[in-house]
């Protein structure tokens, strides 16, 4: 905070004197920085010298060669190929991927919990409001480690073991014959993709691109010519029709057309249910939510009415092979000690995921509430006075402003989730702290190397998340003049 004391114009420049390094604000900051530099180097010399001496005394050295040696241990959740003969480096990567998986899942779930709880805390329903306050306070004020341990204990003790599914008098059974909830985790069918699937997937991606282009064009038209082009219906059509067509028509044109017709019926039914109820129930949020539930209900009714018919005629028309050529399901089955096949979401992952999501959700709820409260009521009223309809007020006036308040703390909550996922060690989830900072450290005894690498991993992840979220944040920012 040194201010420049410019010498008066016209006076000749003073000759440099040593005392000016101290007394002249022009040089003083340089002096300080030079002293700081020397101090930093001296500190490093002190620390480094100690390190070298201590290592020499213990007969150790710093080497990352162990990363290439076989790890010798197994990991249960392997996003990439790995066995006990793979290297420690690969084990670290497996752990890193596991960290990213749990962090990603928890971020999404926490956002959902947080938004729901944050909105409901402002609800005019007393009991819901109190319940949500209870949720927020109880989770915010108890350490996350305790929550992880509690939720893991619930997982382990409240869910049935696979043994309960076995034998004549099994006490538990699989949901829809395809989902098993055990204390070892949830077993679900996993899709097996065939070649045709990739064609379908590509079509779907292309239609997403088309939707984006269409909507961008519509916005441009709106701003330049003032024409309001309906986007809802074209979007929906673009989203489903091409994919459906690619899926069904080549295999069986009649079936394909029938299916598309059913889909249209479905969409129309849902849309009508939504709009009709929307008109009936007053209130912005309330009406919208009720309508949404009604729409979902309508969708469910239509599906449950039509699905059996399709199921019945489908095979007759030869639809089976077409769907199967796209993908099949790998069902979990109770074999030997465990369920085999399908997708296993392990208990440790679920416990960590939900503990982090519920805990952080409580914080996000507070952010969301603060964000919504930060928008003054005048904004809504002003927008209404301009003649905007409620959903446009929400989309164009309230949300952009509320998001501006919500997003920055949301970023730091995401960072917290990523960092807190290192507590995986308490439930035996093999994240990077469990592999590299856990078993690898124990087996090789290379504490300094592994911990430095571990910190580097987290630092990189954190910096990347903040980088991308900051880009997003900057785009969301209201442009100030």
């Amino acid at each position: 905070m040194t201010t420049m004391t410019d010498s008066p114009v016209g006076t000749p420049p003073e000759s440099f004197r040593l005392s000016m390094l101290l007394n002249d604000t022009r040089y003083r900051s340089l002096t300080f920085q030079f002293i700081a530099l020397v101090a930093i180097i001296a500190f490093m010399a002190f620390v480094g010298g100690n390190l070298v001496r201590n290592l020499a005394e213990a007969g150790l050295n710093i080497s990352y060669a162990f990363l290439g040696e076989p790890a010798g241990y197994d990991i249960n959740q392997r996003p990439i190929e790995y066995d006990s003969q793979s290297s420690h480096g690969r084990a670290a990567i497996v752990g890193l991927l596991n960290t990213l998986i749990v962090a990603f899942l928890a971020c999404i779930t926490a956002t959902v919990f947080g938004v729901v709880a944050g909105v409901l805390r402002l609800s005019n329903n007393w009991i819901v409001r109190k319940l949500m306050s209870f949720y927020v306070e109880i989770f915010r004020n108890v350490p996350v480690l305790i929550w992880i341990l509690i939720i893991f204990s619930i997982m382990i003790n409240a869910m049935p073991g696979p043994r309960a599914f076995r034998g004549e008098n099994a006490t538990s059974s699989m949901l829809f014959d395809s989902f098993a909830f055990t204390n070892r985790g949830v077993f679900a069918p996993s899709p097996v993709f065939n070649t045709a699937f990739w064609v379908v997937a590509a079509t779907f991606l292309l239609s997403l691109v088309a939707i984006y282009l269409f909507r961008a064009n519509a916005t441009k038209k709106l701003y330049s010519e003032g024409k309001l082009i309906p986007t809802f219906w074209p979007t929906l059509a673009l989203l489903f029709l091409p994919t459906m067509a690619v899926m069904l028509i080549p295999a069986n044109p009649l079936m394909g057309i029938l299916f598309i017709a059913v889909c249209v019926l479905f969409v129309v039914g849902v849309y009508l249910a939504f709009t009709k109820i929307r008109e009936l129930v007053p209130g912005d949020n309330l009406g919208g939510l009720v309508a949404l539930i009604a729409a979902a209900g309508m969708g469910y009714i239509i599906t449950s009415l039509i699905a059996p018919i399709i199921m019945a005629i489908g095979p007759a028309l030869g639809a089976g092979p077409a769907v199967e050529s796209i993908m099949t399901w790998n069902m979990p089955e109770l074999k030997g000690f465990n369920f085999k096949g399908g997708l296993q979401i392990r208990g440790s992952l679920i416990a960590l995921w939900f503990a982090l999501a519920i805990y952080t959700g409580a914080f996000i709820a507070e952010n969301v509430r603060a964000g919504i409260l930060a928008i003054s009521k005048g904004q809504t009223e002003a927008a209404g006075a301009l003649g905007l309809r409620p959903n446009r007020i929400m989309n164009l006036v309230i949300l952009p402003q509320a998001l501006r308040v919500i997003i920055p703390p949301l970023i730091s909550q995401y960072l917290n989730i990523t960092k807190n996922s290192s507590l995986a060690i308490a439930v035996g989830y093999m994240d990077v702290t469990g592999t590299l900072g856990g078993i690898t450290l124990l087996q090789t005894g290379r504490a300094i190397e592994t911990i430095l690498l571990l910190m580097l991993f987290y630092l990189t992840i954190s910096l990347l998340i903040s980088f991308f979220m900051n880009i997003f944040n900057n785009r969301m920012k209201l442009q100030e003049r």
Partner: protein, 338 residues
């Protein structure tokens, strides 16, 4: 030792001047306390009782060393260590010796630069399964979910065992024994594996111990023993020969009951050398004559310590097995005192 008051003040708060590699014995004597690393709690081997006093088989070794060196078996500071912290604690001088379920392996001895001073318990990794699972051999465990207590060589042995038998399994690594037991009892894993001694110890606490069986397969050699830092041979000798004194005492029939009688002099010259009535082995170690007598006097000889802490009369209920004296067909064998 206290360089200044400030340091002095902090000594109370936590700084302790430590042993340099050269003279652990002098440091221990100057400090008046032996810093001994133990586990954070394995029933029978090392656990604090309700009064916070450490008890157990490994603890007895620490107390014997303290008695030999400091003439006071209670002059021990027990430092609980986890699998992760134990080696650093020893290497950095925070503890003088580590008497924890630590397996003597090549890499720990050579690469991590520690000195294993002997074996006080021959262990091996075993498996425990519920009886109603109907499994009789570990080789039938194809596809089983296995709870592992991490932090030892357990994961590696397990991986090797299943690999060499070409069967698959699902590892569930767990940090503490209590949590492993909780998962095992809830059926979240089919099998629980760790050192056979710990399996027996933990089974003893189950609601119905008889509903669980320990498989006959022992898949690894786990010689457990106290260890010290490389480079201070005098100190290593003291720990080594204190342990040997306990073993020799059993072999020669010296017990806590007849100790005083034996120490008065006997016609067996080895007993006399051990208890310091003949020769002066203590001086060679840098200790006094009666060090061996004091070591044995704490809790008796090796056999007595075994019986009191983990033997068949205790809830842990371990048989001597491999840990019987060599004269009884076991592996416990001390070099002669001469």
């Amino acid at each position: 030792m206290k360089k200044s008051v400030f340091l002095g003040a902090l000594t109370v708060a936590g700084i302790a001047a430590t042993a340099s590699a050269a003279a652990t014995l002098d440091e221990v004597k100057a400090r008046g306390k032996l810093n001994c690393g133990v586990t954070t709690g394995v029933p029978g081997f090392a656990e604090p009782d309700a009064n916070g006093v450490w008890q157990g088989f490994d603890v007895a070794v620490c107390r014997a060393v303290a008695a030999a060196v400091l003439s006071d078996p209670t002059a021990v500071e027990f430092v609980p260590t986890t699998g992760k912290t134990r080696f650093t604690a020893l290497a950095s001088g925070e503890i003088d010796m580590l008497a924890r379920n630590t397996t003597w392996t090549f890499s720990r001895d050579v690469d991590l630069k520690f000195e294993f001073t002997g074996v006080n318990y021959y262990d091996g990794q075993g498996f425990m399964v519920p009886k109603d699972l109907g499994v009789s051999s570990a080789k039938d465990l194809d596809g089983a979910t296995v709870c592992i207590q991490t932090g030892t060589t357990t994961e590696l042995n397990l991986a090797d065992f299943f690999r060499s038998n070409n069967i698959s399994y699902e590892p569930v690594p767990i940090e503490t024994g209590a949590e492993a037991v909780q998962q095992y009892n809830a059926g979240a894993c089919d099998v629980y594996t760790t050192d056979a001694s710990a399996l027996a110890a933990q089974r003893a606490n189950f609601e119905d111990p008889s509903a669980h069986v320990i498989m006959p397969e022992i898949i690894s050699k786990e010689p457990l023993g106290p260890l010290v830092r490389h480079g201070d041979n005098e100190w290593a000798d003291i720990v080594r020969w204190t342990l040997n004194a306990l073993i020799t005492a059993e072999e020669l029939g010296v017990t806590s009951v007849n100790l005083d009688e034996m120490a008065a002099g006997s016609n067996n010259p080895e007993i006399n050398r051990l208890l310091g009535t003949e020769g002066d082995l203590g001086a060679m170690l840098g200790l006094d004559k009666e060090w061996g007598k004091r070591a044995v006097g704490v809790a008796g000889n090796y056999g007595e310590i075994f019986e009191k802490n983990i033997g068949e009369s205790t809830p842990i209920g371990l048989a001597r097995g491999l840990n019987a004296q060599w004269t009884d067909g076991g592996l416990i064998y001390s070099p002669p005192f001469r």
